[in-house]
């Protein structure tokens, strides 16, 4: 009982709280200064959807439409034609980044691994039309990397 009164009079519980905050005062920061320092992304990070080509440079995508059916909001639209070698190739491949929630169902549904998530997460644009990404901007190379940056 005495200990309780002693604690109550000399505000021990309040001082204990102060000591905790003082401890963290000296323990140093945990935050990352965003534009200069950046966090390391895990390999499975789901960034922007990108279209990939095989070694010879033609599309991996065989325009089967699995991804269109898998997507909850069907944000991908493909117009395809039979190429000279009778195989279906996509002519236009538009992706509506506007309503994409990065759920990854399309990547999982694609039989030929043609679409995968890149590690880009700075996807802000000034005008909405840029969010409807067309085939030429879907590949991951130097000019598309600037696609989101230069605005």
């Amino acid at each position: 009982m005495i200990k309780k009164i002693f604690r109550k009079i000399f505000l021990i519980d309040l001082i204990m709280g102060l000591l905790v905050t003082l401890k963290y005062f000296f323990l140093g920061k945990v935050t990352v200064q965003y534009p200069e320092e950046r966090l390391k992304l895990q390999p499975r990070f789901r960034g922007l959807l990108r279209l990939y080509k095989d070694e010879q440079g033609n599309d991996l995508c065989i325009a089967c439409g699995q991804c269109i059916r898998a997507c909850p909001d069907s944000l991908i639209s493909i117009y395809s034609e039979r190429g000279p070698d009778k195989k279906l190739r996509p002519i236009t491949w538009t992706f509506n980044l506007n309503r994409c929630m990065f759920c990854g169902l399309c990547v999982e549904a694609c039989p030929t691994n043609a679409i995968r998530f890149s590690h880009e997460y700075e996807l802000a644009v000034y005008d909405k039309k840029k969010l409807y990404i067309h085939k030429k901007d879907m590949y991951l190379d130097e000019n598309t990397r600037k696609y989101f940056k230069e605005n």
């Binding site: 709280g17 102060l18 905050t21 963290y24 005062f25 920061k29 945990v30 935050t31």
Partner: protein
Amino acid sequence: MNIFVDYILIPIIKILFIITFVFVAVLILIWLERRFQGFIQSRLGPNRVGPQGILQSIADALKLLTKEDVVPHQVDKFIFNLSPIIVFVTALVVFAFIPFGTDLTLFGKKISLYLADLNVGLLFIIGFNSIGVFGIILGGWAAKSKYPLLGSLRSASQMISYEVALIMSLVSVLFFTRSLSLVEIVKAQQEMKVWFAFIQPVALFIFFVAGVAESNRLPFDLPEAESELVGGFHTEYSGMKFAFYFVAEFAHILFFSALVTILFFGGWLRPFPNVSWLSFLDYIPPVFWFLGKLAFFVFLFMWMRATWPRYRYDQLEMISWKWLIPLALANIFITGFIVILVK
């Protein structure tokens, strides 16, 4: 000595000095609080504007200056504009009587480091301080919307109850000084060779708690409790008027830390004034002692803000009426009794 120099030039310089001191101190205080709280929360405070973010509060001030001064239509114009001024002026005026240090001899002229030495200094300060409450009450009321109304009502009752506790704790200190002027109080501590804090620990505790409540700082910051009343009494203010309130709040902190150092920790006296072998401490000019102690108490204000939760409105009143005031009264009787015994 001609009148001009003594009664006009030097006071003006002192006034300018005090105003710049208060403004610069407040700006640094704002920046320091955000940095300090940041480090406690294991993050960096503002560090973008200027080296280590020092110019951050200047940037804030400029932003507030250029921000559009919104005056909601249903507001009572005159009082709405008047109340920030009241708060700001009272917060500034009280600094006139704070003695920063002993007299300074510059170009052969003895200059006292305080603007005026009223023999009723302390009474004047406390009186002026309670006028500041009007600013908050009128400000909240004039805004004519529900949240500021609640905020201002809360601040009214909080101020009154803690004003009583404040003054009573001072009374027990004044037994030993026999004069209300702050300079005399420090001199009294010098003669008695001991700080009042060691004689009157209870009064110190009450005074400090009441000081925190007066300046609306965290354990008692009901009137502008963000999480409950959105913005408390200054919800409707924006731009320069809001800056007045903000500066006034920090000026209050500065003022109460100064008062605590003067009344309880010997304004500009070096620690343990009577201990002879500590005399090498005399080389440090008295002003630094005063500012050092001031900084410690300001640090304490910020530390409390970062750590403790907030009291509820009625608990706040209960503490003052049921705990602080009876304690202060008992303290007065005991000290009075002891003083008579000693005489």
